[in-house]
């Protein structure tokens, strides 16, 4: 029999009993739909986390001072005054594959400008900070090396600060007073939004590190050194070189622990993506189980169908159908069932994913591979679970089949 003829006969026998066919493929529909929906939700969540982490900069390495123990009380990380500007300069000079280094020191203060004031955090840093933190300028310029060298009282406003201090005018060229020190506003940062951890990254004022240390907090140690590696691949080597360099500079013996801590955003990123991958694999695994259950449903109904149609099989054999013809007829029917189920499942899965996006407000991302994979798996389920009933049909004895009532 031709392929077209086989398909036609198989289709006829499916539409002959539409309700039963639908029930038969329900398992496949749910399985395929679940794979696609769960992968879409998983991929959406992963994309959201990645996007947030990407805003931090994927090559970012953070060096913070270590903790100290006083009288048995261990203070938190960053309590030590172990990082100096010279450390940052040494990293810049001696560690290979470093693109930018931004030493940073901060304080909190009430900023006043005109008739407005706003409580915000003040960041003292060097020109590299703009690249390390991947900000862009909305207007004006960022602080320069000249500002840093001269300890100039220049300031760059974050978007939130600019909005609150200068609701209706351009802040560039105006003055902002922080801790009684007037700073000339030279630029405004473009808005970056919330960080992955919910902090408003636009609520800050950036000043030269020298100005910060001289005029605002009076400290000569750093809160943090931000390092940007040349490439994500170089991050690991930069981390280890930095650790070695700082241990050397701080004169630590091999038995002493680090008095600083080097953290790597890529690690956080990897952990986050590994978590969401595990989650979506788990979901896909559950969905695969339901596909297999769906396949058993198909096998069950195909066995019933073979029994019901024993006489038909006998007639076909009597008029010359070979074993292969009967085998193919029932196999095509099972595969058609599972493919129709797969197609409906794809539609249902995509629909459910978008419904979830609308209803729960989650980001979803249809993964094309999940559509192909689950549909292919459904078709394979049809072949695997259709084979036994089809083989049973093809092995019937024509005489007994004809006599079957």
């Amino acid at each position: 029999m031709t392929a077209g003829g086989l398909l036609r006969v198989a289709w006829q026998s499916l539409v002959r009993n539409p309700f039963r066919s639908l029930l038969t493929i329900l398992g496949i529909i749910i399985g395929v739909g679940a794979v696609i929906t769960s992968m879409a939700i998983g991929a959406g969540a992963q994309a959201a986390v990645q996007a947030q982490l990407a805003r931090l900069g994927s090559n970012l390495i953070v060096v913070v001072p270590g903790s100290i123990i006083t009288g048995g009380v261990q203070l938190g990380s960053g309590a030590r005054q172990s990082l100096k500007i010279a450390d940052a300069q040494a990293i810049q000079q001696d560690v290979p594959d470093v693109a930018y280094v931004a030493p940073q020191s901060g304080t909190n203060a009430q900023a006043v400008a005109g008739g407005n004031n706003w409580a915000t955090s003040i960041t003292g840093t060097t020109p590299d900070w703009l690249q390390v933190e991947s900000y862009t300028m909305a207007s004006g310029r960022f602080i320069t090396q000249a500002d840093e060298t001269s300890g100039a009282k220049t300031a760059v406003l974050g978007a939130t600060v600019a909005q609150n201090l200068f609701p209706s005018s351009d802040p560039v060229g105006k003055t902002v007073i922080v801790k009684n020190v007037p700073f000339l506003i030279v630029g405004v940062l473009a808005a970056k939004g919330q960080s992955g951890f919910g902090r408003d990254q636009d609520d800050q004022i950036v000043v030269p590190l020298s100005a910060m240390q001289l005029r605002l907090n009076g400290q000569n140690w750093l809160g943090v050194i931000l390092i940007s590696a040349d490439s994500p691949d170089a991050v690991d080597s930069v981390v280890s070189s930095t650790e070695a360099l700082l241990r050397l500079r701080h004169g630590l013996t091999p038995r002493q622990p680090d008095d600083f801590s080097v953290r790597n955003i890529a690690n956080v990123q990897q952990a986050a993506s590994a978590t969401s991958q595990v989650q979506s694999r788990l979901l896909a695994g559950i969905a695969a189980v339901s596909l297999v259950v769906g396949g058993i449903g198909i096998m069950n109904i195909m066995l019933v169908s073979v029994t019901e149609r024993t006489r038909e099989i006998g007639i076909r054999m009597a008029v010359g159908a070979r074993e292969r013809d009967i085998l193919l007829q029932f196999l095509v029917e099972a595969v058609l069932l599972s493919c129709v189920g797969g197609a409906i499942g794809v539609a249902a899965g995509i629909g459910a994913a978008y419904a979830t996006a609308q209803g729960a407000g989650w980001q979803v991302l249809i993964v094309p591979a999940s559509v192909l994979l689950s549909f292919g798996f459904a078709a394979a389920v049809g072949i695997v679970f259709g084979f036994y009933p089809a083989r049973r049909a093809s092995q019937l004895n024509p005489i007994e089949a004809l006599r079957h009532e």
């Binding site: 010359g320 070979r322 013809d325």
Partner: protein, 238 residues
């Protein structure tokens, strides 16, 4: 004339539980091309087993069977299916039509398994249905046809592959006497006009007497093989 069916010491033993049941015990029958033969005998006489064997639905335990000179007694599975598809046309007591397929589709069925292209299938099915007088019922489902008409569709299906022999197993068993007569007339017409070889299993003498020759089975043996009363009468009157 050459033999269409030639069985030599055909023997068939079934195993029922622990016992061997001899259904056929050394049956040698020759049917020449163009003959019409009735196979008679009580139930259990072996006539159904004989039909299954010459219809290539089953294999003999021993003995030989030549169909149009080809030894088919050792064939099995797909080879046997191929022989059925090319050389045998079956007509059954219960018609055995596919209930959801139209008359034309039922008649086309054997052709789909012998690889005949679509257009040719339709033409041949149409001409077979015309030959049995159902040219106007091609698209009817079996349930929309009378018993006699259904059996004529089955005969058209048996004819459509131009087989060497038509084997009919109690073809009038489910029909009233009027329809039975119609069906027998159709068989004889096909036998007369086309020289179609026909073997009919029946337990009714009236039906058997429509044919030219009656072979009687009992306990797995052929106990009688002679021209029918109709032929005898014709000879007597001649």
């Amino acid at each position: 004339m050459s033999a269409v069916i030639d069985t030599r010491k055909l023997r068939k033993v079934y195993r029922v539980g622990a016992e061997d049941v001899v259904a056929l015990d050394g049956v040698s029958v020759r049917v020449r091309s163009g003959e019409s033969v009735a196979v008679m005998g009580p139930s259990g006489s072996g006539k159904s087993t004989f039909m299954n064997l010459i219809g290539c639905l089953d294999q003999p335990t021993s003995g030989a069977y030549f169909l149009e000179g080809q030894d088919v007694s050792h064939l099995h599975g797909d080879k046997l299916a191929e022989v059925r598809s090319r050389k045998i046309g079956f007509v059954f007591q219960g018609f055995n039509l596919l209930s959801r397929s139209s008359a034309a589709e039922n008649v086309e069925l054997p052709l789909t398994y012998s690889g005949v292209p679509h257009e040719e299938r339709r033409e041949r099915a149409a001409s077979a249905l015309k030959a049995v007088g159902l040219g106007h019922r091609m698209n009817h489902l079996p349930s929309e046809l009378s018993g006699g008409q259904q059996q004529r569709v089955a005969i058209a299906r048996a004819l459509v592959n131009d087989p060497a022999v038509i084997l009919a197993d109690e073809p009038t068993g489910n029909l009233d006497s009027h329809s039975s007569e119609e069906i027998m007339r159709l068989f004889l017409r096909l036998n007369d006009e086309r020289g179609m070889t026909i073997v009919i299993v029946t337990h009714e003498h009236d039906i058997a007497n429509w044919t030219a020759r009656i072979v009687t089975f009992l306990d797995g043996h052929v106990v009688d093989d002679r021209p029918s009363a109709q032929v005898a009468a014709a000879r007597g009157s001649a």
